[in-house]
């Protein structure tokens, strides 16, 4: 490695640190996702067709289209800055998407455009990964057990529904986003967008299959603002 390369690398690291690490005057947006109404009943999944997976779930897992917590909190909502923040280059670290027990882990995976996506199969059976991209290039690949991870990238922002064609109950979402300011609500519905430079932002909360809410937030200095979203849910 030449000196020039070392220098450039150092410069890049420095830039990355200034961008991501909390510099003076960077704000944070936190909040909670809750819902109103009656969420759809999550049905147990019968995996008897795939005995090697069924045996991993002594009590059947349920669908994950709506995952709620105590106090009407809503999990798996992706919250991101949809306007106000510049597009960012992808970080070099890949994101992992696992298939385990015929289930996607995580169910909702958010990552950046052009960021490396590493898909692994931890099961004893072949899986098929079919992200139903509409803006990005759609692809459909199978992954036999014991084969190397599938590496993929998406170059446009999109919410992509992911399916396994071999195991029709497997369902997940790729949230491909333009910048690093995103968060997926945890089991208590909490999300946190740190390190925001001062500015006016539009933040969007998105829940599958296609529910979307936005709010405008202004950050001035190193403050923490709280924003809440309340999704309306219907039983069917």
């Amino acid at each position: 490695m030449t000196l020039k390369h070392v220098f450039l690398a150092a410069l890049a690291t420095l830039a990355a640190v200034t961008l991501t690490a909390a510099g003076p005057g960077s704000g944070t947006i936190t909040g909670k996702i809750t819902y109103d109404g009656t969420p759809a009943k999550q049905k147990p999944i019968d995996m008897s067709k795939e005995p090697s997976c069924a045996s991993q779930h002594p009590t059947p897992i349920t669908t994950e289209t709506v995952v709620t917590g105590p106090g009407n909190t809503l999990e798996n909502v992706v919250v991101y800055i949809s306007a106000g923040a510049p597009d960012e280059a992808a970080p070099s670290a890949p994101v992992n998407f696992d298939q385990k027990g015929c289930q996607y882990v995580p169910h909702m995976l958010a990552f950046q455009t052009n960021q490396e996506l590493k898909i692994s199969n931890d099961d004893q059976t072949s899986h098929n990964i079919h992200p139903l991209a509409k803006i990005n290039q759609e692809w459909n690949k199978s992954q036999p057990p014991g084969t190397p991870p599938i590496i993929a990238k998406y170059d446009k922002a999109e919410m992509i529904h992911v399916k396994c064609n071999i195991h029709p109950w497997m369902s997940g979402t790729f949230a491909v986003l333009k910048n690093s300011h995103y968060s997926v609500s945890d089991k208590d519905g909490n999300f946190k967008l740190p390190n925001l430079p001062p500015g006016k932002y539009t933040i969007t909360a998105w829940h599958e299959p296609d529910q979307e809410m936005t709010q405008d937030v202004e950050i001035s200095g190193s403050e923490t603002k709280t924003v809440s979203f309340v999704f309306k849910l219907k039983p069917y």
Partner: protein, 267 residues
Amino acid sequence: MGKLLAVTIIIIAIASAVPFVMHTWEPPADVSTHGGLIDEQMADTMIEAGVSFLAAQILLGLFIWQFSKPRTDSKVKTFPGGAKGLVIAAIVLVGVEVLALGAFGSKAWAAVYFTPPAADAMPVQVQAGQFAFYFRYPGPDGKFGPLHPEMINEGNQNLFGLDPEHDVESRDDVVTAEMAIPVNKEVHLLMHAKDVSHSFYVPALRIHQDFVPGLDLSLHFTATKVGTYEIVCSQLCGLGHYNMRAYLKVLSQQDFDEWMKKEQAAQ
């Protein structure tokens, strides 16, 4: 070298027949009311085919043995009876025999396809889709709710596209991933294809029928033995074809009722 060929052909012929004679590999034991006729037909055909096969190969071998010997005399002989005898043999011994076999076999076919289901047959709908079977029982109201293909969503397990919000009949429908039926009770199977052609093949039940997209077919059968059997897809339907299967549980009426209760609770 002719003799070697003769011996090889005869050895291969006999060796080929051995696994059939010894029943080394067999279809799963029949557990249906109609399967006996099919099994009988298979056994009869096996005898006819086996005899024809061995006779032809052995005759071929014997003649090669006999007539590949280098001979100095210039004489050739003609098969006694000439062509006429052989043509008659082909028509009478093989043709008529096989046609008769076919005529008797239509009885087995008729038993499956030309009989109406009993009035009290239990209706079960099966939907084949890439790459799983799903089953639907009409529930206490005895009625299947209408299908709305545009509402199908596998992510939330609305596998048939039911609309319980608007369709009252759909609310008590029981959707399952395995098929359970009571033993000795006729089942009226309503077959629906979600996407492409599939097939419903249960070797133990002697049932095999393709799903036709756009055309709902039906079958009826009675299982006679409690147990778990495999339902497999035999019509190439895409990449997961090999993995498209479901289990058929033949249960006693009591066990079936319990199973149904459990499934209803899970809806």
